[in-house]
């Protein structure tokens, strides 16, 4: 085990050296030292093992043992049916598509946006908006404490860049699609979202796999919400059946800003999301919602940290998981209320619906409260479908499968009803019903 971990680590280090020597990291100049510090951080610790408290229930041995290679610069085309699958019906919003980590202008439908809203690939924006990126990239996410964020930072190449000038309110959602097409490849997309003073926007990140073989996505998203800004953020994880998906999201909220995020996980063999919400100004409000619907031998892990560093902030967490087959879910919800962060109001709810005897759940709340005038609650529950509810539906003529699907849908829907973008909610409803395998009912519901 130790050897395979070391091997995987060495592979990334060698790759870094090759790129560095080849001059790939020469520009922009400010980024080179950051890359160097990040790779040193990675070199220091390598991939986590289950001895690491943050990875106790998530074994990365198979990830570390698989020799993923970087994506080649030019990829074969994306099949038409995959593109059709990507399209959300009834939407005309700007979309950037990244294939195996690299921006594809051909597949993207970037439109000129009003009011100076910038949407671009990070690689382009490095040239056009270097100052803005230098100010934020790698300055928020704790790559010093998160090996995957360090690895991503060391190899930063491309991803999404969204920037809203002060007072600009964009009613049109922006969609970033990260498409995985090639087996055996590692992609490390990096996204930076900067919302200026009193601005407003909605961003949808989608991670979609069109191969059923193993690949590795290591994504990092940094979100900076300025004072009074409102950011709606969605993450749809539709990765392939054998995918390793590691995502790190770090949001920093300024004074009186509002951040709503909703992550929906369907895919991946092993999926880990490390999400941090950091209140940097008083009066911030954050809602973190998550739904995961997994089966087979899928493993899904959420590590959420809400850092109430300043007074008068409100956070609401709702995570729901549906587990079937031999799936396993890990949820770790940490709420920190730092000294002086009075009038903090934080809630956390984590519920699991267990559809088979073979599933396993490790759910752990972690409240660290160092202020006295605060409201913090947490609750966790695990259960099966209620027999009385099943009987009620059957007594109206619905069969066993349909009744189970409908009840499961009802359980999961509590999260989806918080999706404020209507076409997105409809799409997720359909994905959910397809996943629950009840087509006749899907027809009724959607």
């Amino acid at each position: 085990m130790t050897t395979t971990v070391a091997t995987a680590k060495d592979r990334y280090l060698a790759e870094f050296q090759t790129l560095e020597r080849g001059g790939a990291f020469r520009s922009p100049s400010w980024l080179a030292p950051l890359r160097r510090r990040a790779i040193d951080r990675f070199a220091e610790s390598g991939f986590p093992t289950t001895r690491d408290e943050d990875w106790r229930y998530t074994n990365l041995a198979s990830l570390a043992a698989t020799p993923f290679r970087p994506a080649a610069p030019s990829q074969a085309g994306v099949p038409d049916e995959a593109l059709e699958r990507l399209a959300l019906p009834g939407v005309e919003w700007p979309r950037l598509v990244f294939v195996d980590g690299r921006y594809s202008p051909k597949l993207s439908t970037a439109r000129q946006l009003p009011g100076g809203v910038q949407v671009a690939s990070l690689a382009e924006a490095m040239i056009t908006d270097g100052d803005m990126i230098e100010r934020h990239l790698g300055r928020h996410v704790r790559w010093d404490k998160n090996v995957f964020a360090a690895l991503n930072t060391a190899f930063v190449d491309d991803g999404g860049f969204v920037c809203l000038p002060p007072e600009v309110r964009s009613e049109t959602p922006l969609e970033l699609v990260f498409l995985a097409t090639t087996p055996g490849v590692v992609a490390q997309p990096r996204t930076l979202i900067v919302a200026g003073l009193h601005s407003r926007l909605t961003v949808v990140e989608r991670y979609v796999g069109i191969t059923d073989e193993a690949y590795f996505t290591n994504a990092v998203t940094e979100i900076v919400a300025g004072p009074g800004a409102a950011v709606d953020h969605y993450v749809l994880q539709e990765q392939g059946a054998e995918a390793f998906h590691v995502a790190t999201v770090h949001a920093v909220l300024g004074r009186d800003s509002v951040f709503d995020t909703c992550g929906v996980t369907f895919g991946g063999r092993l999926a880990r999301t490390t999400l941090t919400l950091e209140f940097a100004g008083e009066g911030g409000r954050g809602a973190i919602n998550g739904l995961y619907v997994v089966g087979g031998r899928q493993h899904v892990d959420h590590h959420v940290t809400v850092d109430h560093a300043v007074p008068r902030c409100t956070s609401r967490q709702l995570f729901k998981g549906v587990l079937d087959g031999n799936a396993r879910a890990v949820f770790n919800g940490r709420v920190i209320v730092r000294p002086g962060a009075q009038k903090t109001d934080a809630t956390q709810t984590n519920k699991h619906l267990l559809l088979s005897d073979g599933v396993e759940v490790d759910s752990k709340p972690q409240l660290e409260i160092f202020a006295d005038d605060v409201k913090c609650t947490h609750g966790a529950a695990e259960g099966q479908l209620a027999p009385e509810a099943l009987f009620y539906l059957k007594s109206r003529g619905l069969g066993e499968e349909t009744a189970r699907a409908l009840l499961t849908y009802g359980f999961a829907h509590e999260v989806l009803e918080r999706v404020a973008v209507e076409p997105l909610q409809a799409y997720l409803d359909r994905l959910l019903m397809a996943r629950l395998g009840s087509d006749p009912i899907a027809k009724e519901i959607v």
Binding site: A386, P387, E388, A389, F391, Y392, L393, K394, S395, R396, G397, L398, G399, E400, T402, A403, L406, L407, Y409, G410, F411, A412, H413, E414, E417, P440, I441, E444, I445
Partner: protein
């Protein structure tokens, strides 16, 4: 339509709640089953609807010529049997309209009828909503979630109106209703009464029977049907309470089965 013969049933911890019950229900009839709390009224309703938590220890039930007890709950429903629940179950996240549409189309497709499309369904729904005096906002809410007691009972009658059962069993549908809600529910029930269907009203009190006139009244006591009669029996019970039944039963010990028509 329904023929219950010497039915004994109960639950694991109490297998002898119903003791050799017999009952015949014909098309066009309304039967009331009355009795004090704990006499087995709800058990009878649940057993007929096919609740898996109840065990039938002996006896037979024939419904439209079929062996009812051999059918799972959903097949009974598809064959036109309907139970209005005493405690309707809340189904969060599933709207009443979706639920009703799924239920009616499930039944239609099993009966070889074409499924209703969205327009046809809404038309039907509007018509049925009038029967229970509810507006459309009612059906956009999740099934029974946050409904008042009266709303839940009305929702049961709405489902009954939409599904048009051949045999409807109403389990304490009148309990917990104020007088206005009771009248609305009773009116709904009366409008659904037809020569080709039948109803069994399970009730503790006589007051529902002031509005829905039964053809037959049976008194269930300690798992037995101890007395059967016409609608005047309900009035007698209302006047005298259940104590005189208790005395009659005590006097007639050892209790045996009595067969109602």
């Amino acid at each position: 339509m329904l023929s219950i013969r010497n039915l004994s049933a109960g639950v694991v911890d109490k297998p002898d709640i119903l003791k050799r019950i017999s009952l015949e229900v014909k098309a066009g009839e309304v039967h009331a089953i009355m009795g004090p709390n704990g006499s087995g009224k709800s058990t009878l309703a649940q057993v007929l609807a096919g609740h898996p938590g109840y065990i039938v220890t002996s006896g037979a039930v024939t419904y439209l010529g079929q062996d009812l007890l051999a059918m799972p709950a959903e097949e009974r429903a598809r064959a036109g049997l309907f139970l209005a629940f005493q405690y309707p179950v809340e189904i969060p996240g599933v709207s009443n309209a979706y639920f009703l549409k799924a239920a009616i189309n499930e039944r239609r497709s099993r009966q070889g009828q074409e499924e209703l499309d969205a327009m046809e369904f809404l038309q039907l729904l509007d018509e049925k909503l009038r029967i229970v005096e509810m507006d459309r906002s009612f059906v956009n809410r999740p099934v029974n979630e946050g409904f008042s007691g009266g709303e839940k009972k009305r929702n049961e009658i709405l489902q009954m109106a939409v599904l048009e059962p051949t045999l409807a069993i109403l389990d304490e549908t009148d309990s917990g209703l104020d007088i206005d809600a009771l009248k609305t529910v009773a009116q709904g029930v009366n409008r659904l009464r037809r020569p080709d269907n039948a109803m069994i009203l399970v009730t503790h009190y006589q007051r529902l029977l002031q509005y829905v006139e039964p053809d037959h009244v049976h008194v269930l006591f300690d798992g037995h049907i101890v007395k059967s009669g016409g609608k005047e029996l309900a009035l007698e019970l209302e006047g005298k309470g259940y104590d005189w039944i208790r005395e009659e039963v005590a006097a007639a010990e050892p209790a045996g089965s009595s067969v109602a028509r």
